[in-house]
């Protein structure tokens, strides 16, 4: 079921909300980490483009190693507890085999960063749909703590 009270997030955004709200995004080689505090019903989602911030420009959540700790810290600030948090990760596709992002293995590196950082925070990954060659549309239903996922058909997805 599609939820009408869903907040759509773009690249570099983080959104944290509480049930019965929903958060949604569209992913290509980008990755979204979805966190959920099972007791409080607080959930959050990020959407990052590249694995590492290189020290130039602003420290934006367009980079996995900025976006994931920021998502976790903001969840904690909103009352969630790391011990109760469960993670789901999505995206990291290889959208176009001739694309430069594939030769750089951007999708795979994005996935690696998510796994590594979540492991450091001891947050269990309970579900994932990653890699492949298709874009994804996801909607995080905070009432049930579930993700609705559909493969996207169009190409111009980050």
């Amino acid at each position: 079921m599609i939820l009408t009270n869903s907040t759509f997030i773009h690249v570099g955004q983080i959104h944290i909300d509480i049930a019965p709200k929903a958060i949604s995004t569209v992913l290509g080689s980008c990755v979204s980490v979805c966190l959920y505090d099972t007791t409080l019903g607080i959930g959050g989602m990020n959407h990052y483009l590249l694995p590492f911030w290189n020290g130039n420009g602003l420290q934006t959540p367009k980079f996995g190693n900025i976006a994931i700790p920021k998502l976790i810290e903001t969840m904690i600030a909103k009352g969630a507890h790391p011990n109760r948090m469960k993670a789901k990760i999505f995206g990291g596709a290889m959208m176009n085999t001739t694309d430069v992002s594939n030769t750089m293995m951007i999708g795979e590196k994005n996935i690696m960063v998510a796994r590594k950082i979540l492991q450091e925070y001891s947050i269990e990954i309970v579900a994932e749909d990653i890699g492949g060659q298709n874009g994804r549309k996801i909607q995080f239903d905070l009432k049930q703590g579930k993700i609705l996922l559909k493969y996207a058909s169009y190409q111009n997805i980050t």
């Binding site: 759509f8 602003l58 934006t60 190693n65 976006a67 996922l149």
Partner: protein
């Protein structure tokens, strides 16, 4: 071949792990700067707004004090501009930057910016010339567009020659609208091009892109699915902002950025 490819992939992943470890130290060292940025933005914004509202109502006791009051107002406007940039940088870094979509008249935003920068324009006796071939309103984020233009036009005035001309051209193509800001002045050196849009880039004092303004401009353009670039030649610099053209319709006045990508979740997988 397959074997070699697997080895290469493993090496890339191994090196990526290394980069992640090294990057942690960099992030830690930058954390204090980011916290400071956020704190400064929040703590200074409200009193500054109050000051800006009060200063124009102050009446000097003696006529010769008019200049002092005017100077104080100019400095307050300049400080407010810098705080606006810090607030924007903090919002970008927090990941809470949301794009709104409303009908905007690009030329009227340019006029607003020019009005706000009058102190800078007046002090260097710069002529502002506006050419607009975009006759209709577009759907965009007015606040972000305002800050983007304010930074570039302010740079054009700051680094432009005294008595020079800053030329602002607004135009459209099939899918984009562009705002090109051209000023006469010494251009940033070609070797600095990769760093121009980065934060606090190093270089000799007085060069373009040494502060935070252009890094914010780039982030704001990208979050609006646009871009920024510049060309320089013969003591002329042109910064061009390109943004997607969404013509205004009665429906687009109403929609927010959240809705239009999701049409259906029929046959969706539940995880």
């Amino acid at each position: 071949m397959q074997y070699n490819c697997n080895i290469e992939n493993k090496e890339i992943i191994f090196l990526s792990h290394k980069i992640l470890e090294l990057n942690k130290q960099l992030i830690e060292s930058e954390k204090a700067k980011s916290r400071f940025l956020s704190l400064v933005a929040n703590e200074l914004n409200n009193p500054m707004t109050a000051l800006l509202g009060l200063i124009p109502h102050l009446k000097p006791d003696r006529p010769e004090e008019n200049d002092i009051f005017s100077l104080a107002h100019q400095e307050a406007l300049l400080l407010n501009f810098r705080i606006q940039n810090l607030v924007a940088a903090a919002a970008v870094e927090s990941g809470e930057l949301e794009v709104s979509h409303v009908c905007v008249n690009v030329e009227s935003i340019v006029h607003d910016v020019v009005k706000e920068l009058h102190y800078l324009i007046h002090s260097k006796n710069i002529i502002i010339s506006i050419h607009n071939t975009l006759e209709h309103s577009v759907v965009s984020d007015p606040h972000k567009l305002h800050l983007i233009l304010k930074n570039i036009i302010a740079n054009g005035c700051t680094y432009g020659f005294i008595n020079g001309i800053v030329d602002i051209a607004i135009s459209e193509s099939s899918s984009n609208f562009t705002i090109a800001i051209n000023n006469q002045g010494y251009p940033p050196k070609v070797e600095f091009k990769p760093e121009i849009f980065t934060r606090f880039a190093n270089g000799p004092a007085g060069e373009h892109g040494l502060g935070i303004g252009l890094s914010i401009v780039r982030e704001l353009c990208e979050c609006m699915e646009g871009s920024i670039d510049y060309v320089a030649a013969n003591r002329m610099v042109t910064f061009t902002v390109t943004l997607p053209l969404l013509k205004s319709t009665s429906e687009s006045d109403l929609y927010d950025s959240n809705e239009f990508l999701f049409e259906s979740f029929d046959d969706a997988i539940e995880l």
